[in-house]
């Protein structure tokens, strides 16, 4: 029975996915990055633990919402018993419709999120209605944060956040932080520490501060040409003083 439901759900999901790629032009393939010959890209999605985490969040909100609606309905039907009877289908619809949409949105969010890492940079794609792709080179990264909450740790996932110089986080009217464009978030990965180490090791090799400055090291110091001429000058002076 449950297998039948599962099969129907996958079939339906594929249908939705087909509509999305065809009519809503959601890209089917993960993003690409220009690479040097012989270089391979690491392309991955959030770990399956992230999906479980999203599902838990989803069920908690569904349960809370259902409770709120049923309490409202109980209060209403106690005061107006007839109206309460008529409102049963409405209440059920109010619970089920958003629940279905949110469930679908959760899966779509998981399936449309992609992280691409090359040796020099990373690209993050996210979003369904507005597809957002951020490209950041490791050389420009200022700091790397790995964070995870207690529930995220239970699912063995974490978020890797990379920041570039600049910033200026804006707060919206509701006090929420709006998306900061000087930041890339690799959310819901199981190997967060590994990714951080990889990015940091690339950062250490870089000799610049990541602010658009060039490395001028090859201009400093003496080149072999300088040294030969300097030796000649010394020898000439030695000869003339003797």
């Amino acid at each position: 029975m449950s297998r039948g439901i599962e099969r129907a759900a996958t079939w339906m999901y594929r249908g939705v996915w087909g509509v999305l790629t065809k009519w809503f032009r959601v890209p089917e393939h993960p993003p690409d990055l220009p690479v040097v010959a012989g270089e391979t890209l690491q392309k991955f999605r959030p770990s399956p633990g992230f999906l479980s985490y999203l599902k838990l969040q989803y069920w908690i909100s569904v349960v809370v919402f259902t409770l709120v609606v049923s309490v409202l309905w109980t209060v209403l039907s106690l005061t107006f018993p007839v109206a309460g009877l008529f409102l049963i289908p409405v209440a059920v619809a109010v619970i089920i419709a958003p629940a279905l949409v949110l469930y679908l949105a959760m899966y779509l969010r998981y399936d449309t999120t992609w992280y691409v890492l090359s040796r020099r940079s990373l690209r993050i794609r996210s979003g369904i209605w507005e597809i957002h792709e951020a490209t950041i080179t490791f050389e420009n990264i200022q700091n790397v944060t790995v964070e995870s909450g207690p529930i995220e740790r239970f699912f063995k996932i974490g978020n890797v956040i990379v920041d570039t110089a600049g910033g200026g986080q804006t707060k919206t009217a509701h006090g929420q932080e709006s998306s900061n464009l000087h930041r890339g978030e690799i959310a819901g990965v199981s190997n967060g520490e590994e990714i951080r180490q990889m990015i940091l090791s690339r950062l250490m090799k870089s000799r610049t501060a990541g602010l658009g400055d060039e490395s001028f090291e090859h201009h400093a110091g003496w080149s072999p040409g300088h040294i030969t001429v300097l030796r000649e000058i010394r020898d000439l002076l030695q000869v003339s003083t003797h």
Binding site: P34, I136, T137, L181, E217, V229
Partner: protein
């Protein structure tokens, strides 16, 4: 005419946004309903006056009729590149390429709109950006042609040489 399957992308050829940007602006203004009149006029003028220029070191965009605005930034200063496509832009084949430098503003320094080859443009900017390539200039130029220090040292040596020659003669 170029073969349509192998179109080589050249950013320097981009000067004006694609006409579908105007369509996009019209749709966006219509979606606001009564706000159409207020919103559409500035959008229309922005489209009409929008100009891009890509050269070897940087890029500039300018727009505006009464209040003109021109932004110039060098490729090397780019911190991160963002490409966003909402559903209407995807239908029209458009995208917004937002480019950020290390300044403090939370809005992007430059939002390039109305480019059909947005992916190619982004990859072009990416290759020009810092850190996208190894520093192979060190190996390529071990001795610069106009090395002032070396020229000066050679002059000193030659002066010393002539002086030593003069001393030994007397």
């Amino acid at each position: 005419m170029e073969d349509s399957t192998v179109v080589t992308f050249n950013a320097r050829e981009i000067e004006r946004p694609d006409p579908s940007l105007l369509k996009y602006y019209i749709i966006m203004a219509l979606l606001t309903g009564p706000g159409f009149v207020v919103l559409f006029l500035p959008m229309f003028f922005k489209y009409e006056t929008l100009k891009y220029r890509f050269d070897d070191d940087g890029m500039s965009m300018s727009w505006g009729i009464l209040f003109r605005r021109e932004i110039y930034l060098t490729y090397r200063r780019i911190q991160d590149i963002h490409l966003t496509r909402n559903i209407i832009q995807r239908w029209l084949g458009l995208a917004t390429v937002s480019i950020q430098t290390a300044s403090g503003s939370s809005t992007p320094e430059m939002s390039v709109e109305g480019i059909l080859e947005a992916d190619a443009l982004r990859d072009f900017l990416y290759t020009k950006m810092r850190g996208a390539r190894e520093h192979h200039e060190e190996a390529a130029a071990p001795e610069l042609p106009h090395d002032e220090a070396l020229v000066l040292l050679r002059e000193i040596r030659d002066l010393l040489k002539s002086r030593a020659a003069g001393e030994s003669r007397t």
